[in-house]
């Protein structure tokens, strides 16, 4: 069945810089903002933009992600024609079949899937960012310019430009140069890792790239530079608005703090809803002595203690006398009586025992030794135990270094 445009979402990466949080789940399945997972953003963007066919390429620890996506119903992607499809690597007759070697190889291996829909355009997405974006506007710009490839870019501060893939453009936003993490950036337009390709073009480049044994089969490292060198029309699509990488513990924490302000990222806007698969829980309960300030709560929360500047996910419990500040509590985390949690990320199902202390404010601490404290899913902290800032513990209570 022909579709004008389909999306391919690269969700197979481990997200190793999230350490204990991605030990058992792929990065796109990491919880965010109290009731979301990272993948809700690209999936909701697709459905809101009118893209009803999405291939999700999975590889690393996909079980939780697969069951979260399910039939795609929460994102209105359970379609008779199209819809969301999980695409793991698979065996090929005669040959061995292989893991996805790189982002480009992942699409190469699924050319058969894309061809089923015979699309004019393919949108390539990743599950690494928090943002709201209408991909079809980008496709329209791509179409109007007659480009082979359009890359969405965002202006970043010059001081940070060397952390990104940087595009230099002419006055019509045609890309003239691309540099991956340049030491001396010539522009401050960073690639957001969102590409629109004319499928016929990309298809050929993928085949050629696969035939090159020296290629690492990656969009940023191989496909984009090759297309640029071949003189293809490459367009930069300027995006303005909130866009945040959540690939590191600090940026994940930052992005959670950002959603508290509601001004940067408006998740209440009903013209662009962000959908999520939501567990059935009664409304949040705030007890007689609860004090909750500049924080978000959601269904299933039970708060009797104090919560400041924090993000609480479903089924989080903060008992009486406990104090939580500047922290992100993922689903089912429990902070028992009198415990203190400051500047921390608590993974799903973490239990902080009575009177324990996790993390500390940077104000009271040597800046070199300070950092966000992170407890991996299901970690249990004993009553009265102290977990120093910047410490990271896994579910066996073993310290993991960054």
């Amino acid at each position: 069945m022909k579709k004008e445009c389909i999306a391919m979402l690269l969700a197979g990466g481990q997200g190793s810089r999230l350490y204990v949080l991605t030990r058992n789940v792929a990065k796109p399945a990491v919880p965010y903002g109290g009731k979301y997972r990272i993948i809700d953003f690209p999936l909701s963007n697709c459905t809101n933009a009118g893209i009803d066919t999405v291939g999700v390429l999975t590889q690393y620890k996909p079980l939780e992600l697969n069951s979260y996506i399910g039939s795609g119903q929460p994102w209105d992607l359970d379609r008779a024609n199209g819809g969301v499809h999980i695409l793991p690597p698979y065996m090929v007759e005669g040959e061995k079949g292989s893991w996805y070697k790189g982002t480009a190889n992942a699409i190469y291996q699924n050319m058969g899937f894309v061809d089923l829909y015979d699309p004019e355009y393919v949108v390539i997405l990743s599950g690494d960012h928090i943002y709201k974006m209408n991909y079809m506007k980008m496709v329209a710009a791509h179409k109007a310019a007659g480009a082979a490839c359009t890359i969405s870019v965002i202006e970043v501060p010059w001081t940070e430009a060397s952390r990104f893939g940087i595009m230099s453009v002419d006055e019509e936003n045609n890309i003239v140069a691309f540099e991956e993490k340049p030491k001396e950036p010539k522009s401050n337009l960073a690639s957001m890792g969102i590409y629109v390709f004319t499928w016929k073009k990309l298809r050929q480049y993928l085949i050629d790239d696969e035939a090159d044994p020296k290629s690492s089969n990656d969009f940023g490292k191989n496909i984009i530079p090759t297309m640029l060198a071949a003189g293809e029309k490459m367009l930069a699509y300027r995006f303005e608005g909130y866009w945040k990488d959540v690939g590191t513990l600090e940026s994940l924490w930052d992005a959670n703090m950002d959603m508290l302000s509601r001004s940067d990222l408006d998740l209440l806007d009903d013209s662009w809803p962000v959908y999520a698969r939501i567990p059935n829980q009664p409304p949040a309960f705030l007890g007689k002595n609860a004090r909750v300030e500049h924080s978000v709560v959601t269904q299933g929360c039970d708060v009797e203690g104090s919560v400041f500047n924090s993000v609480l996910s479903d089924s989080v419990v903060v008992e009486e006398g406990a104090r939580v500040s500047y922290s992100v509590l993922m689903p089912g985390a429990v902070v028992e009586r009198g415990a203190t949690v400051e500047y921390a990320i608590l993974g799903e199902g973490v239990r902080v025992g009575a009177g324990a202390r996790v993390g500390a404010s940077p104000m009271d601490y040597d800046p070199d030794r300070w950092g966000i404290a992170v407890l991996g899913p299901s970690t249990v902290i004993a009553a009265g135990e102290v977990v120093a800032p910047k410490t990271m513990l896994d579910s066996n209570h073993e310290e993991v270094s960054r």
Binding site: V274, Y275, I278, P283, L286, V297
Partner: protein, 371 residues
């Protein structure tokens, strides 16, 4: 034995619910911050493995249709069976346009549906009971007792008998007498949930239809007590039937009690409802929110105490909300002050407005009103 089929009566109208039931059946009256009343019995059925449910409706059902949709939230959107909404397609009565006179008449109006039920047993339930009943236990009890009809009733001392059906139980739990509005009797309040075999149900519907008997209580429970073995199943847990505004208010406020919430929302028997996909709820440093249930998508910048906020409610700076129930998308303006108020959906309370109800007589504000 091949399972239970559910039939829910969702056609009633309780005048006592006043504004709340003006444009909807009691089945779809919002309750508990994010639910509708029908969610409870419907979820009880689904949690007990019931996979086919018929909901009998008659007029005023726009809001209910919108809420249950295809039944997917209850996992009842199925290729075969699943949820069926049953308007009176086989209504034989010719008088007026009023609703059904009783359950037997309602059942007879969907007789052809009942004939196609593929399970051997049927559970009949009203849609306005707030309960989390392990129905599979009632079903097992029904099968082992050899009763013709099992009637679920509240434990002694629970529930007022005024305006309710009550059962006087004898030895072994067999029903000796069925009474109505018998305030001072020693009976137990009926929770209006019954299990009987499909064959018996069809037989009773046919018999009542021929005789123009419409009341289940009168024609079956009372008049046939000699020939049917009717047994009471006493439910010791929480149950509330909501038929008046003050019952609605009191029962809602009870949810602030943790023990009652635990009884109604155990982890292994969730109550399902239509999802709205709103974001989290934000609590501003200028506000304070205590002893309250708050659903998703709310913004609280004012003071909220002993209240229930449904999804999408906003309370602006300086506003004070005490002992209130504010339904979906209601907004309270700056400096407004509300106590003992039930505001239906999309109510707008303008800046500085003061409304004071009484604990015994809360103020109810109709849907979409601007005050």
């Amino acid at each position: 034995m091949n399972g239970l089929h559910g039939v829910i009566f969702a056609y009633g109208k309780h005048v006592g619910l006043r504004e709340l039931s003006e444009n909807r059946t009691p089945a779809s009256v919002p309750f508990g911050g994010r639910y509708r009343m029908i969610d409870f019995v419907l979820s009880n059925m689904v949690n007990a493995g019931v996979r086919d449910v018929g909901v009998i409706i008659h007029g005023n059902y726009q809001s209910l249709l919108d809420h249950v949709g295809t039944g997917k939230e209850w996992d009842l959107s199925r290729m075969h069976g699943g949820l069926r909404l049953l308007p009176p397609f086989a209504m034989v009565r010719e008088r007026g346009s009023g609703t059904f006179r009783g359950k037997m008449e309602a059942l007879s109006s969907v007789q052809s549906y009942l004939e196609r039920i593929r399970q051997d047993h049927v559970v009949l339930a009203d849609s306005d009971t707030i309960i989390n009943l392990p129905l599979q236990q009632v079903y097992a009890d029904h099968l082992s007792s050899g009763a013709d009809i099992t009637a679920v009733c509240a434990a002694k001392g629970q529930g007022d008998l005024e305006g309710a059906t009550s059962f006087v139980l004898g030895e072994g739990g067999w029903v000796q007498d069925t009474l109505y509005n018998a305030k001072d009797c020693a009976g137990l309040r009926s929770l209006d949930i019954f299990i009987l075999s499909r064959d018996l149900l069809l037989e009773l519907v046919e018999e009542c239809r021929r005789k123009d008997h419409y009341s289940f209580r009168n024609a079956v429970l009372q008049n046939m007590s000699g020939r049917l073995k009717i047994r009471g199943y006493v439910w010791e847990g929480y149950a509330a039937q909501i038929r008046t505004l003050s019952e609605y208010y009191d029962r809602s406020m009870e949810l602030l009690n943790p023990a009652i919430r635990r009884a109604l929302f155990p982890a292994d028997r969730p109550i399902y409802t239509k999802e709205m996909n709103l974001s989290t709820t934000y609590l501003d440093p200028d506000g304070a929110c205590v002893n309250s249930l708050v659903a998703d998508g709310c913004t609280v910048e004012g003071t909220v105490e002993n209240s229930i906020l449904f999804r999408g409610v906003s309370v602006a700076k300086g506003a004070v909300v005490k002992n209130c129930i504010l339904m979906q998308n209601t907004s309270v303006g700056k400096g407004a002050s509300l106590s003992n108020v039930i505001a239906d959906k999309n109510v707008q309370i303008t800046d500085g407005c003061t409304l004071v109800g009484n604990e015994r007589y809360p103020i109810a504000i109709a849907k979409n009103a601007k005050i």
